[in-house]
Subunit: 406 residues, 2 copies
């Protein structure tokens, strides 16, 4: 089903291989019709040169769109995704999907990102965490290196958040779009939004950043190291050479448990589990293997995510996040100075990954000091910590709508 | 050098095998003389039955004391240690030791825990993390099971915080002490202090608890699971059967990195490292193995700690902490109701392990509501997060002194 474009930056608006055939049934519908049915499309580049000078051939990135691009091609908004996310930001592929895209609460007809008005683009990143997810299209260590016919593994070039943005820029260019009404992202998506603002100030009218920061702060650099550690401990990781062999599922699952817990909060743990045991009659005091409910839940949640994820992609994402400073240079001040657009900051007060005291609160002051228009709201704060920026983004809906209307 | 007592609860005030011979030179000095020289002593129990019904023979626990027990034997204060700590709370073993015990800033002549007035006892716990530390004496999975002549490994009985307290109680009883002016501990030490208050209300005149809580909250239960995970991923762990073979050093080191980082704060990371590279000329963007300074520091700090620690002891400590509820029953309310003593709570406002919003702030209200006298201070808060409770305890010195004087 899937044809490859051969021109740099070509687009093929197709379905995802044989993995999600059902989605193809809706291929003829306009994206995000009234029933919210969306399709995955694929953007291809025959070759991409990374900011570090590496070459990646046959770059393929999945993307979705909601709403219609107007004739002036000036009503587009780009959505950039978080560490463990993908381009499925809104709508459903099939009417009976269990859930819509992650920000469906703010994307759609009459919603803050109003698809009656805006053309919303959402794209997968390079080295997306979940290359085995049938709804993800990405290029990374698990991809076949055309020069060898084998997966890249750890020979894949190091990529940065700026590389993610560069590939998105090529996608947006290929659509003839010269103006973005906004670039909006949460967590790692916010890093991309800041980078877009710094790299393309003439193009980006607004930056909307949720639960993130303008750089990886040193404490986060340390945490990212720890997120990655279980993968490297798993003997199946084998320095990244595991394709076609037993994969490091156990290490990847423990890494994903760390991400999952770090992105939440004690308020969530109290409400969801308390000190409940995993199984009636199996007192955690009675045997080392007897667990509390939260432990069993973490194991199960992580195993599910590990099944569609790739361990090397995880390590490359860690590196991309650790090395992030807005502007991709040495100086955060210089990078931020390149951002000319108004900026809307949406932190969760309880965020343990990007604590607002370290990130968005001082960022607000820095941006105002350099002359940017800055809006700021912590209205998404609920009980989920960092994850409030995904699940509870709707609480900032009015603020987002007003910011877009200005 | 080391003789074994054969009577239950006997004491032998000796030196630590052949591992710290120098300390024996000072064996004749009174504990914590004016020059702050202390000696490690060993408390032994021929047999101890755990709260879960397990039997541990030949229990040996290290302890230290500072100051002199008065004739009435009513001037004692017990110090209980944190997860990765031990009984070395004050003074030095040798005049040229690099550093004194961890709470030396508040223990000594004229200090808040005034050794001119009080007899301060500090004891190692069961399953202490660091059985290879020459200054630790403990009994746990790495100890020889007298029935088999081999290390217990994972056949060691599960132990609880209440078991730690029961062994300390036997030590205190053996000294003829019937009254403790206070039990004071930080982090896991605070759990023991609460347990002492609940189990022995007739004996404990005051509870002083720093950077802790009255139970392991569900979020902490999850984190403790994650702390333990790297050990189990290390193939050398081998279900705990590694004594005399290659030990799971890599997994233990990653576990200790998690403890180390979780116990600190972004303020510390900013001040100590910023985004500095580990090595000049080795840009972390240039190679997957090139690190930031904080990563290299974590690796080095953890490797040092792993060298004296035991992986199975780590797992048993995790279990003891996860299962903790004051009173060792199902109900926190019932456990707290047993505490009759005045309580001094000393959290760090930035504590990520025992966040005060979840732990000591609501605990203050609960204790006051049930009629306890409660003092509360966050004066230790600096830049270290949880670790402020160890490093900066001196900032609460006046409050501690006043609380003891009441």
């Amino acid at each position: 089903m899937l044809m490859r474009g051969v021109v740099r930056g070509s687009i093929w608006s197709g379905c995802i291989g044989g993995l999600a055939m059902a989605a193809c049934l809706f291929g003829a519908l306009p994206a995000l019709a009234l029933d919210g049915i969306v399709e995955k499309k694929v953007f291809e580049m025959p070759s991409y040169t990374t900011t570090g000078g590496g070459t990646i051939k046959n770059v393929r990135i999945g993307w979705e769109s909601y709403g219609k691009l107007n004739d002036a091609k000036d009503n587009a908004i780009l959505i950039t995704h978080f560490f463990s996310g993908n381009s499925h930001a809104a709508g459903k592929y099939k009417a009976d999907d269990a859930a819509p895209g992650y920000w469906d609460s703010i994307i759609g007809p009459g919603k803050p990102l109003d698809t009656d008005k805006y053309f919303i683009i959402s794209s997968d990143t390079l080295v997306n965490l979940s290359p085995k997810d049938p709804n993800v299209v990405t290029t990374g260590p698990a991809s076949i290196n055309p020069d060898t016919g084998k997966p890249y593994g750890m020979s894949f070039p190091i990529v940065t958040i700026q590389d993610f943005v560069n590939v998105q820029k090529a996608l947006v260019d290929s659509l003839g779009i010269k103006t973005l009404q906004a670039v909006m992202g949460g967590s790692m998506g916010s890093l991309q939004a800041f980078e877009w603002g710094a790299d393309h100030p003439e193009m980006v009218k607004r930056v909307i950043a949720a639960i993130g920061g303008p750089e990886a702060d040193p404490f986060l650099i340390g945490w990212l190291n720890l997120w990655a550690a279980p993968i490297k401990l798993d003997p199946n990781w084998n320095n990244g050479d595991y394709y076609g062999k037993a994969e490091p599922k156990a290490g990847l699952a423990e890494a994903l448990k760390l991400v999952t817990l770090h992105a939440r909060h004690w308020k969530w743990a109290d409400a969801a589990f308390g000190r409940k045991w995993a199984e009636d009659g199996k007192d955690p005091k009675a045997a080392m293997g007897n667990q509390y409910a939260i432990e069993a839940w973490l194991d199960k949640a992580a195993a599910g995510r590990a099944a569609v994820s790739d361990a090397n992609h995880f390590l490359y994402l860690v590196k991309a996040n650790q090395t992030f400073v807005t502007g991709n240079g040495a100086s955060l001040e210089d990078g931020l100075a390149k951002i000319k657009a108004p900026v809307l900051l949406i932190p969760s007060a309880d965020d343990l990954v990007f604590p607002p005291d370290r990130n968005m609160r001082p960022l607000k002051e820095r941006l105002e000091k350099q002359g940017n228009v800055v809006e700021y709201t912590e209205s998404i704060t609920s009980t989920l910590g960092h994850l409030d920026g995904v699940v509870n983004i709707g609480k900032a809906g009015d603020t987002i709508a007003q910011f877009l209307a200005k």
